[in-house]
Amino acid sequence: MTPPAVTPGVLAAAWTIARKDLTVELRTRAAFLSAAVFTVLAAAIFLYTWDPTAVAAIDLAPGVLWVIFTFSGLLGLNRSFGAELADRAIDGLLIAPISREAVFLGKALANLIFVLGVQVVAIPIVVLFYNLSLGWGAVAAIAGVAVLAATGMVAVGTLFSAMAVNTRLAELLLPVLALPFFVPVVTAAAQATVLVVNGRPLSGALDWIRLLVAFDLVFVAACTVAYPFTIER
């Protein structure tokens, strides 16, 4: 006899889904390896096309870092709902007694951890390639900016991944839909990173930080509410 059940709350269900997604990614490493290889290759290409006599490393590196974050993140976002289509695992999620919002938040949380994992790889590579001398304080500041930026990008990207996944051109459609929404995030994050890399205090980038926080609040809420409408009913 199965013991009585108490349907899980939104956060508990979201964590269960995120943990499942991360376990699948740890087993296959398909998206993370692709993103890590992309990170190294992109950093190397930018390095070899860089003229250090024309642009200083501290001016170029923040832009490189955020281009890498943006496109490597898309690799993970593409797989987010794509992995659910194999043998219609998504149906198993949708018939479970959990809210649709929990499904979205679980997917978004897994994507956030994925993107942050890519950033853990990308930041040292860019610091190394461009010979930046950053103290722990600067690294912590960049990490904070990265978390704020990743949160907004993942919220938007997860929603568009859910919308694009059932189309024939999902891998093309996701960047076309998501990149315009990434522009304010990447701009704010890159500007804040420029200040940090130039050795100035993060307090000088408060306006950019506020923009990132506002973007996160608006788009996490809006995308969570919008997700149920992307499901065929």
């Binding site: 269960t16 499942k20 198993g92």
Partner: protein, 243 residues
């Protein structure tokens, strides 16, 4: 026009249920009633609307018209309706990279079971796949995957069980394990709807039988009121007429 026998208490009930996809009507006014411990076997050719009926009752699709209720909850019923339902479909709904145990345990967690691991192991043992519990699903044969999928669907002891060609891909051992599990669920009071092309397997479990064509039931009888051989001949004539 068929008349729907009405058992005393309905676990699944639809009246005039309609589901449209754009202009096409996949369900065109379906009436059915399934009481606790009963099994409705639905037969019909491809495209008759059988799978759509199950997807509506499972909460994956909203009705376009008419009424439907599952375990006393009107559809679309959200979380409270879905908590009562177990669905087995053409697809296994499993994650190939996870083990059999992890897949079933994941479903148990989503249903909020108190001991997800214990419940998962119990469900796997019931389907005779406990010895492969730690194998990734991707290395299992199609038949074993189907058994794990059934364990996933049954792990929360659903009151409403929706089965879409559940015997597909199962060997004799798997089919027997599934039949035993379904019989146990029936005797525990679950209401079952079994959709299949195969008359033999459907008639064994059925309390009621229905034939579906073009989105509606064209026959609906108590199982004990029909003769299997006669029904089989009539059904083949009906399906042949469609083709």
């Amino acid at each position: 026009m068929h008349s729907v026998p009405t058992p005393p208490v309905a676990t699944i009930e639809t009246r005039g249920l309609i589901r449209r996809f754009d202009r096409r009507e996949a369900l065109s006014g379906v009436d059915l009633t399934v009481a606790p411990g009963d099994c409705l076997a639905v037969f019909g050719p491809n495209g008759a609307g059988k799978t759509t009926l199950l997807r509506v009752l499972a909460g994956l699709l909203d009705p376009s018209g008419g009424t439907a209720s599952v375990a006393g909850v009107s559809l679309p019923g959200g979380v409270s309706a879905r908590a009562q339902v177990g669905l087995i479909s053409h697809h296994t709904m499993l994650y190939p990279a996870l083990t059999a145990r992890e897949n079933v345990e994941f479903a148990a967690r989503l249903h909020g079971l108190a001991s997800p691991r214990v419940s998962a192991e119990s469900a796997l043992a019931r389907l005779g796949v406990m010895d492969r519990a730690d194998s990734p699903v991707r290395v299992l044969s199609r038949g074993l995957q189907q058994r794990v999928s059934i364990a996933r669907a049954f792990v929360h002891a659903p009151r409403v069980v929706l089965l879409d060609e559940p015997y597909t891909g199962l060997d004799a051992v798997g089919a027997a394990a599934l039949s035993d599990a379904l019989a146990e669920l029936k005797s525990d009071g679950a209401a079952l709807i079994l959709v299949t092309h195969h008359l033999d397997e459907g008639l064994v479990l059925a309390t009621y039988v229905a034939v579906m064509r073009e989105g509606r039931f064209v026959r609906y009888d108590r199982r004990d009121a029909i003769d299997a051989a006669t029904f089989s001949a009539e059904y083949r004539a009906l399906v042949g007429a469609v083709a």
